[in-house]
Amino acid sequence: MAYSFPEEVLEYVFAFLSSDKDRNAVSLVCKSWYEIERWCRRRIFIGNCYAVSPQIVIRRFPEVSAVKIKGKPHFADFNLVPEGWGAYLYPWISAMARSYPWLEEIKLKRMVVTDESLELISKSFKNFKVLVLSSCEGFTTDGLASIAANCRNLRELDLKESEVEDLSGHWLSHFPDNFTSLVSLNMSCLGSEVSFSALERLVSRCPNLKTLRLNRAVPIEKLPSLLRRAPQLVEFGTGAYSAEIRTDIFSNLVEAFSGCKHLKSLSGFWDVVPAYLPAMYNVCSRITSLNLSYATVQSPDLVELISQCPNLKCLWVLDYIEDAGLKALSSYCKDLQELRVFPSDPYGAEPNVSLTEQGLVTVSAGCPKLQSVLYFCRQMSNAALIAIARNRPNLIRFRLCIIEPQAPDYLTLEPLDTGFGAIVEHCKQLRRLSLSGLLTDRVFEYIGTHAKKLEMLSIAFAGDSDLGLHYVLSGCESLRKLEIRDCPFGDKALLANAAKLETMRSLWMSSCSVSYGACKLLGQKMPRLNVEVIDERGPPDSRPETCPVEKLYVYRTVAGPRVDKPDFVWTMDEDAALRLS
């Protein structure tokens, strides 16, 4: 068979394909394209570390320079996944250390990373450049020290919200004196103080430093020194933003900020003293991203700051902003694309701030580019949701958390079915949705009918029966991730839609009504799924088959059952049925 193009040409063409979807499509054209593509794919994304094994990945893609792996299910963020569940990085690193000596990038989310892994990374990959550990855990600052000491070409070290055992701040001092390649450093999740002089010197000698996110321990008085050494910074995160009010500190800050002509993103702001916020006003006109979600500052101060940021695209803020502040936001920030409002007192019985559904409605009306919302509030109405839906049909992500579970429409006391129904009906590009409040099966009927682009759905304390789950599984064509907790969904809908599960990345169900028997059946009949029962009460077969399991995690895989399961995880498969019954 004669090919129209030599392999090299095809390879050259494929190099322009960056999306995994495109590359996957290309690999399916014919065997030779599959071969060419697999030899030239450099970036791998593994959405579920148990869906595939390191060996399979390496066998198919022999020359990889960047790997992104996700581990635990999303609900692990809320302590629903017991400790010790899994998602260990080490087997990946040890396999890749042998096969990918030129690996440059490792980005991880919700994985368990040990100091051992970090050390192995630092010693195995000579050209290692990028390490992003997002919501990871299991390592200490000693592991960071290995990275700092050995990765001579490191560009990015980002510890986004990881849980690090903070033994000391000495790790930073391990960056060698001749190390100058740093572009991005995010240590905001660490507790200990690092040596400030080491930090200063590091910042001074890295001319390409664009992102610097400090931790809380860096005091506000020291910020000017750093900013002066890095006027090229694009993203900056402060430490604790408080000190007694002194004019010299203030004026130093003003001056230092003024020198940063390229700043676009600000974050940090723990323990804010409002009087120091104006020090930033000089840079606010260029700011596109503002993370004030730790800033316990009242609405007027927030409004004053926000009113200086006409180019704001992304705002994370506490509910101290209140409806009034959101109104101001909607009038000043017409470019706003993403808004996240976090609760300042989620466990209080009574609202402590005047933030209601009205704030969100106002923003939806005033900000035409708003596409991504995460909103915690205490009351919601169908009318508000319908208004939001009509105002913003361009919403892509809509995550609403009404703090009280099963709270109805506070005006009519009805379920919020029609409200969320309006959201999915109007927002045709919606990819991610989180529900809350009082919801019946009807909302799922709406979702199944309309949410055709929906990829991720989070459900809690909702629905009446299996019908709800059935609507979702049978109707949502693009669904990849479904996570459910405390809903009366059981065996029927799950089993009836078993085939759907192979088209999805994963399904999580906890505190629902799925029986052990159903899990066994699902596991037996669907060999390409791992059906895992998580139950801390002991082996499921010590209880009747009809007994619901605590937690169920189902995901498609080509790697077979897990070999690293803890005691409280059982894989339902053919063997299980025979072994356990």
């Binding site: 809320f78 302590n79 199944g448 619901p548």
Partner: protein, 372 residues
């Protein structure tokens, strides 16, 4: 050949009325083609049963749904909790009415009796009970005898073979749908599943149980969905701002608990306990499985009862003690200081062997004496 699966006959035959979306209907017809209904139990197809009801099913079904919705609205305004529960009650009976339209198994008596199950009132956290109610109701609603799970629930007979027999047709729901001669096999008794789920749920929602609700609002695990990092940060922030005026601090206080010899850690939220006793029982439950292994590898995992007693003995005996690391990094025995002081200063917990913990007690006492 795709693996056979249980077909669902949601609400009886023909799902069309319930799922108005065209996509679903397509789905139905696609997978409906070429499928034969199988009659595994050698019973005659009762195609005529209730077929007269079929034609108007959609209308009636919709009306029923609407009716139910209306009934929901008639609940008491004001007090949410009781209304909510009455909602569940109403919904339950509503669904049962629907069921009478469909040629379900004759065990209407069985269905009706299910609705007598009392639902805990005024208790949002009684969700588990409600769910149990539903798991039973569901089985009656959706069962047409094809769902052998329920049937085998009560007899410990051969679930395996019966279940095997049930797997017919292709992947997905729609096996039976296009066939009118559906599942009514009257002699397939809809048996009530055992009440095991009740216990299971209550145990599951142990942490949510009202009986253990602290003085503050009962907290549901993982709700509202806020990451620990944020929770802990906010907690420390408000402490610094002196906002804590005598009431229990905001947020959770997660500390890691490790145990000598256990392969992995646990995390507990100290704010969910108000006494040492509560903490101790919770930890016992959590780490029981490790001690079972340790104290006898001959024991099979199923022997929980035996293990539980043994663990208690271990913990209260000399074998294991609970220690904690305080803000200064010192390890001390748990129990020496008042509970409030303890949770203020505890950074992590460790279950140590008694022999390793010798010498800790005096330090704790001295320290608190010095601090006082």
């Amino acid at each position: 050949m795709s693996p056979p699966l249980l077909g669902i006959e949601v609400g009886g035959r023909g799902n069309a009325p319930l799922m108005s979306s065209s996509a679903s209907v397509d789905c139905i017809s696609q997978s409906g083609s070429g499928l034969k209904e199988r009659n595994y139990l050698g019973l005659s197809d009762c195609s005529s049963v209730g077929s007269s009801a079929v034609s108007n099913v959609s209308e009636e079904k919709k009306n029923n749904l609407n009716l139910n919705a209306t009934e929901l609205r008639l609940g008491l305004p004001g007090s949410r909790s009781p209304e909510r529960d009455s909602d569940f009650n109403v919904l339950t009976s509503g669904k049962l009415d629907e069921k009478q339209l469909f040629p379900l198994l004759p065990s209407k008596d069985g269905i009706c009796s299910l609705s007598q199950k009392p639902i805990v009132s005024g208790n949002k956290r009684g969700f588990s009970d409600t769910v149990d109610g539903f798991s039973e109701i569901k089985s009656s609603v959706f069962s047409d005898g094809k769902w052998m799970f329920n049937a085998t629930g009560s007899d410990s007979g051969t679930p395996q073979s019966v279940v095997e027999a049930k797997l017919a047709g292709n992947a997905g729901i729609n096996v039976m749908l296009s066939n009118n001669s559906s599942g009514a096999q009257p002699s397939m008794k809809k048996e009530v599943p055992t009440r095991a789920p009740q216990e299971g749920h209550n145990k599951m929602n142990g942490s949510n149980n009202n009986s253990s609700a602290p003085a503050a609002k009962a907290q549901v695990v993982g709700w509202p969905p806020i990451r620990s990092f944020r929770k802990n940060t906010l907690a420390t922030t408000s402490k610094n701002n002196d906002e804590v005026d005598g009431k229990p601090g905001p947020g959770a206080l997660f500390v890691k608990v490790s145990m000598d010899g256990a392969p992995y850690l646990r995390k507990v939220d100290l704010r969910t306990y108000s006494t040492y006793q509560e903490l101790s029982s919770a930890l016992e439950k959590m780490f029981m499985c490790f001690t079972i292994r340790q104290c006898g590898s001959q024991e099979t995992p199923g022997r929980e009862m035996l293990g539980e007693n043994k663990f208690k003995d271990l913990l209260h005996g000399s074998d294991y003690v609970l220690t904690f690391e305080d803000k200064d990094g010192d390890w001390m025995l748990v129990g020496d200081v008042p509970w409030e002081m303890f949770i203020e200063s505890c950074k992590r917990l460790k279950i140590m062997k008694g022999s390793d913990a010798i010498g800790l007690a005096p330090r704790a006492m001295e320290k608190s004496k010095n601090q006082n």
